[in-house]
């Protein structure tokens, strides 16, 4: 096994990246913050696929590349495979992780965050937590898009977190 660090190191830098871009530089411009976080993820995904595919032959088609992301790539990053892969056979794939690691420490239940707060504060805190979580997800979306781009597949990736801590990543391949 290669070199490892504690998971809290990765959690720490990812959370601080989100905090810096959403709470700091682009507090009033969430679209710009999202784009920056996605760009960072894209860079990471692009470089990681470079390393993880060094000794592999080329993938013969899009499905093979997507399966690589679901199995080997996800296992390297999260020590488990994607739980479910669906496709409409027209260029859209849905990758579902039933227990996405980076969401397991995120709370979006307002009552947990603000037991003593007023109704208005509760709403604000709930909205704020949900927004932070959705901002965080631009990072793994960027990772997936960067990885696939390096494998020759141009695509867009979005996340659906309506069933926490499950998370679905929707990959739409551009033709």
């Amino acid at each position: 096994m290669g070199r490892e660090v504690a998971e809290s190191c990765v959690d720490g830098v990812v959370m601080q990246m989100v905090a810096a871009y959403c709470g700091g530089f682009y507090a009033a411009k969430p679209e710009l913050a999202a784009r920056r976080i996605e760009a960072i993820g894209f860079q990471v995904g692009h470089q990681l696929t470079e390393r993880y595919t060094m000794e592999r032959p080329r993938f013969s088609d899009h499905l093979e590349a997507i399966k690589f992301i679901c199995k080997d790539f996800w296992s390297e990053l999260f020590k488990k495979q994607i739980d479910n892969l669906k496709t409409n056979h027209r260029g859209t794939f849905v990758l579902q992780d039933n227990h996405f690691r980076w969401l397991t420490r995120v709370s979006v239940d307002p009552s947990v965050e603000s037991m003593d707060a007023t109704e208005n504060d509760s709403t604000t805190l709930g909205d704020s937590a949900a927004q932070t979580t959705s901002m965080l997800l631009y990072f793994p979306c960027g990772i997936i898009r960067g990885a696939l781009t390096n494998l020759g597949i141009s695509c867009s990736v979005t996340a659906d977190m309506s069933n926490l801590p499950a998370c679905s990543f929707v990959v739409r391949i551009k033709t």
Binding site: A6, C9, M17, I40
Partner: protein, 187 residues
């Protein structure tokens, strides 16, 4: 209730935490630094931002460290520095730091790293003169120590990305806030 066992060794500590592929950490940090260099106009602003991010991380990592390491109260700054170098760096980064160059009062020392997972694959272009690439580490140290009542100033003395033979952080204790006991009730 006091711990039933003594402090864990560095290797046992590293073995007991959840670990991830170091490349994910290295490449994520590198991509963040690159993006910050694009978004912030001054290198000094990037240095400040990395230090602040590290400070925020350090205030949280110290909780995990104390929860898992079985370290009891350190009696002075010297003991604290030894614990950070031998156990803290090992627990989180998988490497050991050396503590050296103490001053006469025992309030300043250096942490020396000869191995640093943050900088695998990293090369700095000439346009990044003045960038303290590992400033997140100095922020982590400052944040963690502040949570155990020690205010410090941390500066970089040696940096392998600039051609030095090791990484050296100079840590100076500026203020130690004694813990008051017993705590007074609010009412």
């Amino acid at each position: 209730m006091p711990p039933l066992t003594g402090p864990k060794s560095g290797d046992a500590l590293f073995g007991s935490v959840e670990r991830v592929n170091a490349e994910l950490f290295t490449l994520t940090y590198g991509a963040i630094v690159r993006q910050l260099l694009t978004d912030l106009e001054e290198v000094e602003e990037v240095n400040k931002q990395l230090d602040q991010m590290g400070y925020n991380i350090g205030t949280r990592l110290v909780d995990e460290f104390l929860a898992k390491s079985n370290v009891s109260r350190c009696v002075d700054f010297k003991e604290t520095a030894d614990v950070i170098a031998k156990l803290g760096f090992k627990m989180f980064l998988g490497v050991t730091a050396t503590v050296t160059n103490w001053d006469a009062e025992g309030t300043s020392c250096s942490f020396v790293l000869e191995d640093n997972p943050l900088v695998d694959f990293v090369e700095l272009p000439d346009t990044c003169q003045g960038l303290q690439y590992c400033n997140v580490l100095s922020g982590v140290i400052r944040g963690a120590l502040e949570m155990v009542s020690m205010k410090t100033e941390v500066t970089w003395v040696r940096d392998m990305l600039r051609g030095d033979d090791a990484y050296e952080m100079r840590v100076k204790l500026t203020k130690q806030v004694p813990e008051e006991y017993p705590y007074k009730d609010d009412d």
